[in-house]
């Protein structure tokens, strides 16, 4: 009987892991401590004096990310001074996707003069804690004083592929809502992106 229960529990758990979902709005934001392209380690706790963090799972190789790079830079430039800096994390496994190696990350960061940290999730340990499934994927974190909580997850705006034809700036609106003391609405949005390249 015990063995059966164990097998069932295992099956359910693996099914849950298979259909990964981002962590829910309102949940505590998992901590992280990762090396950036400048060699320095960046942790979530480094931002304890900020109003929040715009955490974005990105990478070098996904064309949807590339189509959003300027928008991500613009977000940092607009909101960092208002207490919401951008932090970018690459969780792709270079073994599966060579273009996403640490060295290539350094090259891209320099090419685009990223004004924000570009961190390497080398062990792919941070990825499952957030449940990110694609790049780019945004987790807007709000600083509640003693901890960070998730305020919004999903897309940057309503047109991932084309910055010139955006109607709704989901993330801008979400950040402005948090700054005004309100809850983002919508708090969860979706967009097509590249599946994150997990070690096989």
């Amino acid at each position: 009987m015990k063995k059966q229960l164990f097998t069932i529990a295992f099956a359910v758990l693996s099914l849950a892991l298979f259909a990964a979902q981002p962590i829910k709005v309102g949940e505590k934001a998992p901590s992280f401590s990762l090396k950036g392209v400048d060699g320095k380690t960046v942790s979530l706790s480094d931002y304890s004096n900020e109003k929040g963090v715009i955490l974005i799972f990105t990478c070098n190789t996904c064309p949807v990310v590339v189509a959003n790079e300027d928008r991500i830079i613009a977000l940092h430039n607009k909101f960092a001074s208002k207490g919401f800096p951008v932090v970018a994390i690459n969780s792709n496994d270079p073994g599966v996707s060579a273009g996403d190696s640490f060295d290539n990350m350094k090259v891209r960061a320099e090419e685009k003069s990223f004004p924000f940290p570009y961190l390497f999730d080398e062990q792919q340990a941070v990825l499952p804690t957030y449940g990110a499934t694609r790049t780019p994927e945004v987790f807007l974190l709000k600083n509640k004083g003693d901890e960070f909580v998730v305020a919004y997850t999903g897309a940057i705006d309503d047109n991932a592929n084309n910055a010139d034809d955006v109607e709704e700036k989901f993330l801008d609106n979400a950040i402005n809502a948090v700054l005004a003391g309100n809850s983002p609405n919508p708090a969860v949005t979706k967009a097509v992106g590249c599946g994150i390249k997990v070690k096989k």
């Binding site: 259909a19 996707s97 897309a155 309503d158 047109n159 109607e167 949005t189 979706k190 967009a191 992106g193």
Partner: protein, 176 residues
């Protein structure tokens, strides 16, 4: 080609004309072969939607992919094999491409030709992804590859990559 023309024209006028005709025919047939054999249908989501809700007894296998998505193109041949294997078993494979609309000629069509794809390919050109992603499946985060398999009102959505064995086994289980 020009050497051929030189030689034929040196022999006589008649040979020159014949040589030119041969070359023209060659060029025409060459350009005919390089026409895209597959026509790409382009649909927005409202136009695609009916294909995701057919009420006949065909098993629809709808794969969401793009040429810029490495794991997607890896499984394209598996879906081709499925399309071929279950052709007479009321299984219809639809390959819905999320390629950038301005890269149809430069990327999508050449890929389809190179892979000799026989499955129906539809380009989904609808930027308001947050609106239509939940309409395909509530749980879908938008990550590709992803596959919807349905027959009448029985629907299952798989946000994952398939090996051929997995996909084949799954289709077989749904046909029994």
């Amino acid at each position: 080609m020009f050497n051929f023309l030189n030689v034929t024209c040196m022999i006589s006028n008649k040979m020159c004309i014949l040589g030119s005709v041969i070359i023209v025919l060659f060029l025409v047939s060459f350009s005919a072969f390089s026409q895209p054999k597959s026509a790409i249908q382009v649909k927005n989501f409202e136009q695609l939607k009916p294909l995701l809700h057919q009420q006949n007894d065909t098993l629809y296998v709808v794969n969401f992919w793009a040429t810029w998505c490495a794991p997607c193109i890896q499984e394209v041949p598996y879906f081709e094999q499925i399309g071929k294997k279950y052709k007479d078993k009321k299984v219809k494979v639809l390959m819905v491409s999320m390629d950038f609309p301005n890269q149809v000629e430069s990327r999508l069509i050449p890929f389809i030709e190179k892979q000799n794809m026989k499955n129906e390919v539809i380009l989904l050109d609808d930027p308001r992804q947050n609106k239509w992603i939940p309409q395909v499946d509530e749980e879908w985060t938008g990550a590709i590859p992803a596959t919807l398999i349905y027959r009448k009102n029985e629907r299952n959505f798989y946000q994952k990559e398939f090996s051929f064995e997995e996909l084949d086994k799954l289709i077989q289980s749904k046909l029994n």
